[in-house]
Symmetry: C2
Subunit: 640 residues, 2 copies
């Protein structure tokens, strides 16, 4: 019985052959009958190689006239018509030598490959695979392909790259050559990777994870890398299973198995390999709530909220109130604070002010915490959004009654009739302070009695260097400076961190530094400016496309919420990470140190970030110094 699998997670499985079938139709029928969705076949016969004119047995005049008028002899073609285009992916000739030292070989290779690409596009093949990047120089290969794919629209272009080199498993040579190629072709969005799984995989997890940042559209699993299980059936070793499933989960690639040239696994049938791959696909770990919530948002760039300038929609409240973890943690924080601050059995009525009450979830947390802790409280619920305020009135009428006083006001300007013991707010953005929690709480902290507290008590911004072709290209697609200097809220998917995040700065509430006058109206906002930096040693050659940002917040004592991967509150979905782009991708050699510099800056009307990155070699040698991004908030700011 086939297990159920979410159709949106299902990968197609194709069958690759290096044989040149005379009757491609028959082969496709066979492939389909043995459980394959498509086939992968050479475009042309090895006979076509004659155009290189390397064995001087051929007539030189023939080759010369081909150079003048490059056209296929139909006998040279394996895929001879458009009949099977929808079911077939082509593989380009493996004998071209675009980076040969011999100019003649280079020129003829270029003509031959262009001729094949042209034909593949003409008959609308669904995909075309370049069989292997040359070792050594790849400059001319990059130039030719970069140019040739310009005219491709329907047909997808893929470059086959092995995960590991047979001679040097840990050397990451495949990725390095691909990376060089991709830099030369400038992240050309028409060029993708067909990743070949190899019999040995690197043991360092990072060397596998870095592929998650690459534009993988197909994964090739050769029959030869399967092993026999005790019953004689072909299966894959555990690390291979895991890596392939991660790729399926994150990239949803087309899967390609190969036709073994001889029987290599006792009990293998022509369908064994594809069935095994489909089995791995079905066995993907089930999606969690947060994944469902994130569907469609993966690697999508959202501009961060402007909470003081915009009012939230009802639907937005609706979604975020469903977070199963965040409000649990708030309730726990209020509960613990009440236990700590008021003796059991006391008549003391703790005054709690919820600032930015929205539709009331935090008010509910407070009331519920009071009940559980058997402490008396009175809640003031402040809200500046006139629409949400109607919902608050409903809740007061229907549920809360006298325990809650509603106030329609901007917390930065309200004059309270009394002061509170506990100030509760949920103003945090993905980077902690990016939705202006510090500025809002500056205004609100005058509501707090001496000895009173704020929940949250503090929050810290974290950052780490990030690789992601997809995010790089999503930003580059805008083709302007502004989008390259704007942080986005992003549900990361096809990304790889170069190193673990490190803290940049923190805010604490109430602010006891004496910077804020008692009337809560500071002359300037200099006390909310911040500067932080962090150094990251990077252990492998990698690219850096941007910076991942996270926050961690202490609500009260040991009650935390966090979106930093290492400490992420399990199941909490209210925040995606924040992504700070870099204007150009930066090469980060093995062993070098990436330094990130961040500023939080303010003027009378705005808050913004500036950031930059530098790379220093193992020997301290300076390699790259990027310009400071978003100078003076020119591209992005949050309005006060």
């Amino acid at each position: 019985m086939t297990e159920a699998i979410d159709p949106s997670r299902m990968c197609s499985v194709g069958l690759l052959t290096t044989e040149c079938f005379d009757n491609l139709g028959d082969f496709i029928v066979q492939a389909e009958e043995t459980g394959h969705d498509f086939i992968v076949t050479p475009v042309s016969h090895p006979t076509f190689r004659r155009v290189l004119n390397q064995d001087k047995s051929n007539n030189e005049q023939d080759q010369k006239s081909w150079k003048d008028r490059p056209v296929f002899d139909r006998k040279d073609l394996v895929v001879q018509s458009a009949d099977f285009s929808q079911k077939a992916v082509g593989v380009l000739a493996n004998w071209t030598q675009l980076d040969s030292h011999d100019p003649e070989t280079r020129i003829c290779s270029e003509l031959a490959i262009k001729q094949e690409i042209d034909w593949a596009c003409h008959i609308s093949l669904s995909g075309l695979i370049f069989p292997a990047l040359p070792q050594g120089s790849i400059f001319n290969t990059a130039r030719v392909i970069n140019n040739a794919v310009k005219s491709m629209s329907y047909t997808q272009f893929l470059v086959r790259v092995p995960v590991a080199d047979k001679q040097d498993i840990q050397g990451n040579l495949g990725w390095k050559q691909w990376n060089r190629f991709r830099a030369l072709t400038e992240y050309n969005t028409k060029i993708h990777v067909a990743l070949e799984i190899t019999s040995e995989l690197p043991t360092d997890k990072q060397l596998l994870n870095m592929w998650l940042a690459e534009p993988i559209k197909a994964v090739i699993v050769p029959a030869e890398i399967f092993v026999e299980n005790p019953k004689g059936y072909p299966v894959l070793p555990k690390p291979h299973q895991k890596f392939i499933q991660t790729l399926m989960d994150k990239m949803k690639p087309d899967m390609i198995v190969t036709l073994p040239t001889s029987k290599i696994h006792k009990k293998a049938t022509p369908s064994s390999y594809s069935e095994y791959i489909s089995y791995l696909n079905r066995k993907l770990p089930p999606l969690e709530d947060v994944d469902h919530f994130a569907t469609g948002y993966q690697d999508f760039l959202q501009a961060p909220l402007q909470p003081l300038m915009d009012n939230l929609e009802n639907q937005t409240y609706e979604v975020f109130e469903k977070d199963p973890i965040k409000y649990q943690q708030y309730e726990k924080a209020v509960y613990k604070a009440l236990l700590d601050r008021v003796e059991h059995g006391s008549d003391y009525v703790t005054t709690i002010m919820v600032v930015g009450a929205g539709r009331g979830p935090l008010v509910n947390c407070c009331l519920s915490a009071a009940e559980k802790s058997e402490r008396k409280i009175h809640v003031y619920a402040l809200e500046k959004n006139h629409n949400a305020f109607v919902t608050l009135q409903n809740a007061k009428a229907d549920l809360w009654g006298d325990k809650v006083t509603l106030v329609f006001a901007d917390m930065r300007k309200w004059t309270p009739p009394t002061k509170c013991d506990i100030l509760v707010s949920e103003l945090l953005g993905s980077f902690g302070d990016n939705e202006l929690s510090p500025e809002c709480l500056d205004g609100a902290q005058k509501f707090i009695k001496d000895g009173g507290i704020s929940i949250p008590a503090s929050y810290t911004a974290f950052a780490s260097p990030l690789a992601s072709t997809r995010l790089n290209n999503n930003v580059a697609a805008y083709k302007d400076l502004q989008h390259c200097e704007t942080p986005y809220v992003v549900m990361f998917q096809q990304v790889c961190e170069l190193a673990s995040p490190k803290p940049l700065w923190s805010f604490e509430h109430p602010n006891t530094q004496g910077d804020i006058p008692a009337d809560g109206d500071p002359m300037n906002n200099l006390h909310n400016t911040r500067y932080g930096y962090a150094d990251f040693t990077v252990e492998h050659d990698m690219m850096m496309n941007g910076i991942a940002g996270y926050f961690e917040s202490v609500l009260y004592k040991d009650v935390m919420i966090s979106i930093r991967p290492e400490t992420h509150s399990p199941g909490m979905f209210s925040w995606f990470p924040i992504y700070f782009p870099l204007r150009t991708p930066v090469q980060v050699p093995k062993g070098s140190t990436v330094s990130l510099q961040f500023w939080r800056l303010t003027d009378v009307k705005r808050v913004w970030y500036e950031w930059t990155a530098t790379v220093q070699g193992r020997d301290g040698q300076e390699m790259t110094t990027l310009p400071i991004h978003n100078v003076g908030g020119r591209s992005y700011y949050v309005g006060l």
Copy 2:
């Protein structure tokens, strides 16, 4: 008696003081009386330092209220009014610590420096000098200045940078820190260098020359670095003289001498130092013809000629016919060829075809060579520009008579009545083949008899990595991709090569490779495509902004013309170098290898170049791989 100096080469000389004069007007009068054009003075008194509040003796409340409302007490200012603005350059406070570890010190330093800048702009000081980049971290310094100069328009901003560090003369620390600063501020065109000459200069010439690529607007020569000559007068050592004169010649900076705090040279008077600097200025080596010719063209980007698509103006012919060297060399080449090919006394009439005769200078060369060599010739003069053809008819009527046959035709299409012994052309561009000499001569080589020759016989393109802030900014000013991928013809001035040029490829004529059919009409132009690369080891930390291109041509045997610096034909001014920009400046660490990759590519209608550069570290580690520029000729091509 004062020697004459070209007023366009005269540098102003200013007097710098670190003293804070109460009466600035008196000081300016004194300075003028002792031969100075302007003064350089602190903007504010050291008393202003109190705002840092570092010695806790001050009233903390004072400092705090200054932070809220930063305004000058007039007693803090040395330059108290706009009265002397035209005669004064300000120096910013030297006690600010923008990269202090203490946030309070950073914030107050930023406020203080902004306050000074704001005042300087308000009173329209002609310039403002930032006294010294901090050692170590300069991130916040860069951010603050980058932001502060935004509002400056009239007042020039300069950063004082010493040529050499006292502790480490050869370490190039000054340049490195400036370079880091400039990368962070992204070649901000409002930030210039005030270069301080130090008592010791690095002995490696390249460490001095690299300053020629920087935006130097002032040169500071402290009194302390002068030495006493035998008569007791202050003079500078030879290397200092030479370097200062080079700077005067290339950058025309404002010169600044300092007021010695005590008598350090026996016979020195208050005017000795400025007089010595003015003397060096007057003693600049006189301009050569080529310099006069180049006036106004230095570092100016000219789009290269499109000789097949455009016809030259009469004025252009007029200028280039005046080249004192080029036609000498052509005449010598024809002369030697005639001597070699025809025996003395023979009646053989050598047929010479001048293809692209213009207004006839090469015809004159041929006739003159024939006369000197006492050989008989007949000249065909081909020209496709109908305007120039009128001038040719005048010359034939007035001078040449029967010795010359005029032909109005495009050499690629003309069918000759006879063949020639010698084909003479001057179709070379700055990069050799960039004005399509190969394509033109493909068409014309069918005119040549078996055993006949072409003058030029061959030409070779050379390239080298180049640093130049000025060229970088001239290209960047266009703010588009197209201009970053277009080669320009440029008279280099404020540039520095990272290494000497190397050859990329050559063309030979007549082409004997059999690529061109006898009818001279090849089916394709593949035989004129080229690929070349060159590696350069760079000995110091430098920046690469673009690539310098040159050509060398063998006209006939040992008769050459060249614009490659190492072999430049002395006095020949017909060609400036060519400049290939790079889309982003590239950091090139000491000891690393720059690889340049160049292609000459063609299709049916166009010829273009593509290029890229990579940098590899000492250990072979890949640091930078730039994208291939001008993919498919998208930004620039020459029409066929």
